[in-house]
């Protein structure tokens, strides 16, 4: 994608913004799919690009556009979680090693990563967000803590429990093959 497309889009050129969208949509969609599940991913992806359009003038070029957009996407997704309410359990409870959930549905051909995707969706959203941001997207615990309004220690302990839960689910899935 030419760098100029971001500049043109900032000035209101929707055709340029469509090119920006086409270049970055796959990453945003898959981030949303992993963080929020496939049902919410499409709408969230649209939300991210509408927000990006509205906030393009604030992009200062200090980071790459891709980094800026990724951070914006994470914020939009976390904001959605918050709007959905605190009634749902966000994190894995302390003191329990793993969630007692059924393994991922069996797929026709054994695919560990497909099992992982299904297992990720079984995590509470907070633990899922921490796992995806840390282990898939490469964020640090301090960054995750800032984004979620939790301490780095909470992020670490939730990651630990999420990993244990996912390992258990993957092992059970593998045993069922």
């Amino acid at each position: 994608m030419p760098v100029n497309d971001v500049v043109l889009a900032t000035e209101g050129d929707t055709a340029a913004f469509e090119r920006v969208y086409q270049a970055h949509m796959p990453r945003v969609f898959n981030l949303a799919r992993r963080m929020a599940g496939p049902d919410a991913a499409e709408e969230l992806t649209q939300d991210v690009f509408v927000r990006a359009w509205q906030k393009l003038a604030l992009f200062r070029g200090e980071s790459s556009f891709s980094t800026w957009l990724h951070r914006l996407a994470v914020n939009v997704i976390i904001e959605r979680f918050r709007k959905l309410g605190a009634a749902r359990d966000r994190f894995l409870p302390d003191g329990e090693a793993v969630l007692d959930v059924a393994p991922a549905a069996r797929t026709k051909s054994y695919d560990l990563s497909m099992d992982l995707q299904a297992a990720i969706e079984k995590l509470p959203e907070g633990a899922r967000t921490i796992f995806v941001l840390h282990d898939v997207e490469g964020y640090k615990h301090e960054e995750i803590g800032t984004l979620l309004g939790i301490s780095a220690g909470t992020s670490k302990s939730q990651l630990h429990r999420a990993r244990q839960t996912l390992r258990t689910l993957l092992t059970k899935s593998r045993a069922l093959r």
Partner: protein
């Protein structure tokens, strides 16, 4: 070993081991395309909703900055046209940020570009300029007033943009620069007024 001790041990090795089943699964994650074309929905929404941007675009700020440079150059020319003033004759000299602070009554506030000091210095200078404007050529007054409006517009735009993006270093620098230029313009104008017609 309790859970906390166990957690600490795990935290000390935050990376997954390659042979870990989870690490293998993460390594195999693949991106998938959405089931539908999402662009029409995005396009409809960005057409329908007003764009929430900072009110001033970068290009507008660039134009404002250019105008400020032109204003400054214009005032330099105006001042250069005037006979050299004797400092003793001027009550209108404003102390700059790094000049020693005077204590005599009637002297204006030093400007350090913090809001209160800046506003006080500007108010003092504007009063002086108003009192002495009859001593200036009407054409010169017109140029000064036009340039002051340009700078005021730039300051207002920068403030408006900063309301939405307070930490933006460019905007902060632009605001400080605009305010400095306003003060400089007022200083030159009052100096000009105080020495004209002597």
């Amino acid at each position: 070993m309790n859970h906390h001790e166990d957690d600490r041990l795990k935290f000390s090795n935050d990376a997954l081991e390659p042979e870990d089943i989870l690490a293998q699964a993460i390594g195999g994650l693949r991106d998938e395309p959405p089931a539908h074309d999402l662009w029409p929905g995005v396009a409809a929404r960005i057409q329908a909703s007003p764009r929430r941007t900072i009110a001033v675009t970068w290009s507008q700020l660039a134009v404002a900055a250019s105008l400020l440079i032109a204003v400054s150059a214009g005032l330099t020319w105006l001042v250069a046209r005037q006979p050299v003033a004797t400092p003793a004759s001027s009550e209108a000299v404003v102390q700059a940020q790094d000049e020693p602070m005077g204590s005599a009554a009637g002297q204006v506030q030093p400007a350090n570009f913090a809001d209160k000091q800046f506003d006080a210095a500007v108010t003092d200078l504007e009063k002086i300029l108003l009192d002495d404007r009859d001593r200036l050529d009407p054409a010169t007054v017109m140029v000064i007033e036009r340039n002051l409006r340009t700078i005021d517009d730039a300051i207002a735009q920068a403030r408006e943009a900063l309301d939405k993006d307070p930490a933006n270093p460019y905007l902060n620098s632009h605001l400080a620069d605009s305010r400095r230029r306003k003060l400089e313009l007022l200083r030159r104008a009052t100096t000009l007024a105080s020495t004209s017609g002597d």
